[in-house]
Structures are given as structure tokens and as C-alpha cells.
């Protein structure tokens, strides 16, 4: 517990230098960034790494090496009420900076450090007009489409198991 608090404090100190500057930039376009960061976080590692091969990435400096930790997932009492702690999930994060100054943050589900590193580099590139379109078209869009296709397939399979009730009317005269 004590060790954890210390390591969290150390981490804050490490990240503080770029955090302030970063939050200012991020707020300008947080909605778009939210979208691609979520896509990168949720995508299966193999898919991310496969599409990443199509991206020509510039050199970057690692601000915080990829590190695996946990996020406590909170539920709500009764489904909509006060929060409670359901259980944790593994999450891996990484922070990098491009030579041109963009800072990239990757937070991804699971323990794949390469996935987190790629997410961080992609995030930084997406903030730059030079690389934005390339990363969007080669990485984010294919990942998003694959996720949509999976969700769509599951939804149609579920729909096919919906019960259709019918009422049998008994003809008393017969």
C-alpha cells in the first residue's frame, strides 16, 4: 500500500512537466482525441500491430516507458445508483513525445506494452497536421470499422434469439 502510494507520487512528479502544457492543447480538441484514444484502447493488440505496419512513424522520445497497472472498475448499486467497486482490469500506459513537440498518451486495455507504445505514438501523430490523415486512414478507421463490424454481428445474432410470443386462441364452439 505504502509502496503503491509512493510509486503513484513519483509518477505524478514525472508526468507533471508535460501534463500542464498538454492539458491546454488537449482541451482544444478533446472530442476527436477522445474518439481515437478510445478506438486505440479497445482494439485487440494483434489488430493494432497489424495496421501499424502500414504507418510510417517519425522518431519519438519515450517520456514514460510502457507500464502495466490496473484500473478499478466501478458499478452502480441497482444499475443506476451510488458507485461500488466491482473489480479491477489490467491496463497498460505509455507516454512519448515526437521531435516536433506533440505529446502522445496511450492507455490500452490489457498488458501489451507494444500496443500501449503504438497507441501513444499514434496519438501524437494524430495531433499533427503532417501525419493526422495517414494515421486516421491506415490505423484508426480500419480499427473502428472492425469494431463496428464485430458489434453489428453480435447484435444481429442476439436479435435472432429474440422470442416471438404468439397467443393461441381456443375456439369454444368447435
Amino acid at each position: 500500500m505504502q509502496v503503491q502510494i509512493q510509486s503513484i507520487q513519483k509518477l505524478f512528479a514525472m508526468t507533471q512537466s508535460y501534463t500542464d502544457e498538454f492539458v491546454d492543447n488537449a482541451l482544444k480538441d478533446s472530442a476527436a482525441r477522445q474518439g481515437w484514444l478510445s478506438t486505440l484502447a479497445k482494439a485487440p493488440s494483434e489488430e493494432v500491430l497489424k495496421h501499424w505496419e502500414d504507418v510510417v512513424a517519425p522518431e519519438s522520445q519515450v517520456l514514460r516507458p510502457a507500464e502495466t497497472g490496473m484500473v478499478m472498475v466501478r458499478g452502480r448499486t441497482g444499475g443506476a445508483g451510488n458507485p461500488f467497486n466491482l473489480g479491477e482490469m489490467t491496463v497498460t500506459r505509455c507516454a512519448i513525445r515526437l521531435a516536433t513537440g506533440e505529446t502522445g498518451i496511450g492507455y490500452v486495455a490489457g498488458r501489451d506494452k507494444t500496443h500501449a507504445y503504438v497507441a501513444a505514438v499514434a496519438d501524437a501523430m494524430l495531433q499533427s497536421s503532417v501525419w493526422h490523415d495517414q494515421v486516421r486512414d491506415s490505423l484508426i478507421e480500419p480499427l473502428r470499422q472492425a469494431a463496428d463490424a464485430r458489434r453489428d454481428a453480435v447484435s444481429r445474432k442476439a436479435k435472432a434469439t429474440q422470442v416471438e410470443f404468439f397467443t393461441m386462441v381456443r375456439d369454444r364452439k368447435a
Binding site: 479497445k42 484500473v71 452502480r76 445508483g81 458507485p83 461500488f84 492507455y107 490500452v108
Partner: protein, 377 residues
């Protein structure tokens, strides 16, 4: 009394563990299981290990199952031990199960629930006959699942939302959004326990224990007369706000099972009668657990709802102190570790007691004999 350290047994332990490795592998003429195979084809075991291990990571859970030779409480222990090695980045935004991408949703109480009864990939209505096709070598063709031309609605109203306007069901208001919920991974169990603490303990709790408690409640030991309002299973988005970003991102869509159990009317002079509710939520597809949890959650609300009950499922200390499979298994199984000193002390004591017993008996007999002799004379 002081503990006496005894050394020895290293070689025996090493050899035992090597043999364990061999037994784990089994007959080497049979192909070895991969972690991916366990993750994909033993997915409900993986779900249970993640729920009670209190850590969502299917690959780790599958690895734990492989390492434990399929002993799920042992796998849960391995996952719990692993999680202690990782730092905590923070807590998620509380999830919204109403927005779940539903794969299965049934209401046993309300046939016409909006969105309909969606069965999903269920064992229900199977005949529970062994399917020998699955035993065929080389696999058999698995017919693909039917796909509908329509998709599911993106949001299915919950049973609570359906009846909210009439007040027939109790609500679950957010009374304090800023409040940090109790965290059993940071604080010890304490009593009286609030509902957030109880729900966390039940979510990590042993499925078998909760199932038996729920069953005991149904059979009359603290009955809550439950009616299954709704069960839903599907993926729920988990949002998290990293400090360095300052805005929320979605980290994952995690499969979860949720159960809302409706229970006896509560009413008073101020409060109109309405259904009360019990709540169950687990990682993965784990209906038996979610249902049991919701019944036990409701039973544990007795104090708050003015019910006087003495049944095991209503006693929060009894339930919460004994629901954790790692603690329970550890405490029962520690008995097999050396207790040589306890036994030695017991033996000495027992020998003295027996000596005193026989001495007393011999003395009594001698006195009796002497007495009889005297009487005869």
C-alpha cells in the same frame, strides 16, 4: 509459547513440484492445451476466475486455469496474487449498464418488457444430454449462429426504467456522486457494512457459497420471495479519466452479467408499498453468480428495510466473513501444513489428562474394594 523453526524438506518439495508439473501436463501423447484454447473454449471458467479473482484479464485467467490444472479456486488465488504486483492507475467512471450492448436479456417477471426477451447463447432449454458429437476426434462442423436482418436497439430500457413512472419499484438514486466507495482491496472488512462494501464483497465472493445462501433463502431461511426482474449480459463500456489527459476515454467494452431481483413489498405510514430490489453484477457471463448475488444482496438489506431476520443469509458478518474463496480455502487448507508443535503440546496435555483419569479410577476402585471388605467383615 515460542515457535520452533524446523528446516528440511527442500529436496522433497522440489521433487513434489517437478512431479506436479508432469501430472499437470498429463499423457504427453495427448496434445498440450494452449492458453488461447482455454480462453476461447473454457470461457465460462475464465469468466469465473476473473470475477472472483477480481481482475479482468482473460489471458491471465486462462493461464491461471492451466497452471492450476483446472482447479478454479487455486486459479483465483493465482490471479489475486498477481494483481498485488501491479500499481493502481485509478478508478473508472461508474459504468452504465443501461447502455450495455445486450447479447442476452430476459425478464422472468414481465413478459412484454420493451426490447423483448432475448435468449442469447444460453444453456437454458437444452436437454442436458451429453453430446457425443463434441467427443469426435478432429472436430465437427459447428453451424454458424443465425443472424437477424435487424440489429438490437442500442439501448434497452431496464426493468427499473420501465416501471419508474409509477413508482412500483424502488429507485436507486445517486445520493452522493462524490463519495468514494468502500474498497476492500485497501481497507479491511468492517461492520456494520454499507451496501457498496457488501456489493464489492459479493462480487468477489465464492459462487458456490453465494448460490447455497441464495438457495437457503429461497427455501425459507430468511426468504425474500424473489422474482427475477431482469437478467442482462453483454458488453459495457468502461470509461476512465487519466490525470494527464483531463478528459475521459473509453478503455474497454467488458462483458458483464447483471441481475435485478424484485422482492417483497415494503411500505410504511410515509412510504407507499413498492417492490424492493436486490442487485447482482459480475465480470463475464456468469448468470448463476449474478442471480445468487442479487438474492443475497437483498437479504442483507434487512436492517435498512426494517426486517427482523436471524437466517444465515441475513447476517452480514456471517456472509461477508465467509464469502471469499481465497480466505476460506486458505484457512481450511492451512490445517495441512505442519502443526507438529500444536500436536506435541496437545499430546502432553492429553497424556496427563488420561493419567489423572486412570489414577482417579484406580483410586476409586481401591476405595470401593476397601469399603466392601470392611462391610463384609
Amino acid at each position: 509459547m515460542a515457535y520452533v523453526a524446523v528446516k528440511g524438506g527442500e529436496r522433497a518439495i522440489t521433487n513434489a513440484h517437478t512431479w506436479l508439473g508432469e501430472v499437470r501436463r498429463g499423457d504427453t501423447s495427448v496434445p498440450e492445451l494452449s492458453v488461447a484454447q482455454i480462453r476461447e473454449q473454457m470461457s465460462l471458467a475464465v469468466d469465473r476466475v476473473m470475477a472472483e479473482g477480481s481482475c479482468y484479464d482473460p489471458d491471465l485467467a486462462a493461464l491461471a486455469i492451466k497452471q492450476s490444472r483446472g482447479d478454479l479456486p487455486e486459479a483465483i488465488f493465482l490471479l489475486r496474487a498477481y494483481r498485488t504486483t501491479l500499481p493502481r492507475f485509478g478508478a473508472s467512471t461508474p459504468i452504465e449498464t443501461a447502455n450495455m450492448a445486450v447479447q442476452r436479456r430476459v425478464s422472468a417477471a414481465f413478459k412484454d418488457i420493451p426490447g423483448g426477451q432475448v435468449l442469447g447463447p444460453t444453456f437454458d432449454y437444452t436437454h442436458r444430454l451429453l453430446d457425443f458429437k463434441l467427443a469426435a476426434e478432429g472436430g465437427h462442423e459447428v453451424p454458424p449462429a443465425q443472424v437477424s436482418e435487424e440489429i438490437m436497439p442500442t439501448q434497452l430500457a431496464t426493468i427499473a426504467q420501465v416501471f419508474a413512472h409509477e413508482g412500483l419499484l424502488e429507485g436507486d438514486p445517486v445520493t452522493d456522486a462524490s463519495e468514494q466507495p468502500y474498497d476492500l482491496t485497501r481497507e479491511p472488512m468492517a461492520f456494520p457494512a454499507d451496501r457498496d462494501q457488501r456489493l464489492q464483497a459479493l462480487a468477489r465472493g465464492d459462487e458456490g457459497f453465494l448460490l447455497s445462501l441464495a438457495y437457503s433463502s429461497q427455501r425459507g431461511w430468511g426468504s425474500t420471495h424473489p422474482l427475477c426482474g431482469e437478467i442482462r449480459m453483454g458488453e459495457v463500456s468502461v470509461g476512465f479519466t487519466p490525470d494527464e489527459l483531463g478528459f475521459e476515454i473509453e478503455l474497454a467494452d467488458l462483458p458483464m452479467t447483471e441481475c435485478i431481483m424484485l422482492s417483497g413489498f415494503a411500505g410504511s405510514a410515509e412510504q407507499a408499498p413498492q417492490y424492493t430490489r436486490g442487485y447482482g453484477l459480475t465480470f463475464g457471463h456468469n448468470e448463476r453468480k449474478a442471480m445468487s448475488m442479487s438474492i443475497v444482496d437483498r437479504a442483507l438489506r434487512g436492517r435498512e428495510l426494517g426486517e427482523e431476520g436471524q437466517a444465515p443469509c441475513q447476517d452480514e458478518e456471517f456472509v461477508l466473513y465467509h464469502s471469499d474463496v481465497v480466505e476460506a480455502s486458505g484457512f481450511v487448507q492451512h490445517l495441512k501444513l505442519p502443526h507438529y508443535v500444536d500436536f506435541q503440546a496437545d499430546l502432553q496435555f492429553l497424556r496427563r489428562l488420561r493419567r489423572e483419569f486412570f489414577d482417579a479410577k484406580a483410586k476409586a476402585l481401591a476405595e470401593q474394594t476397601a469399603h466392601m471388605k470392611e462391610a463384609a467383615e
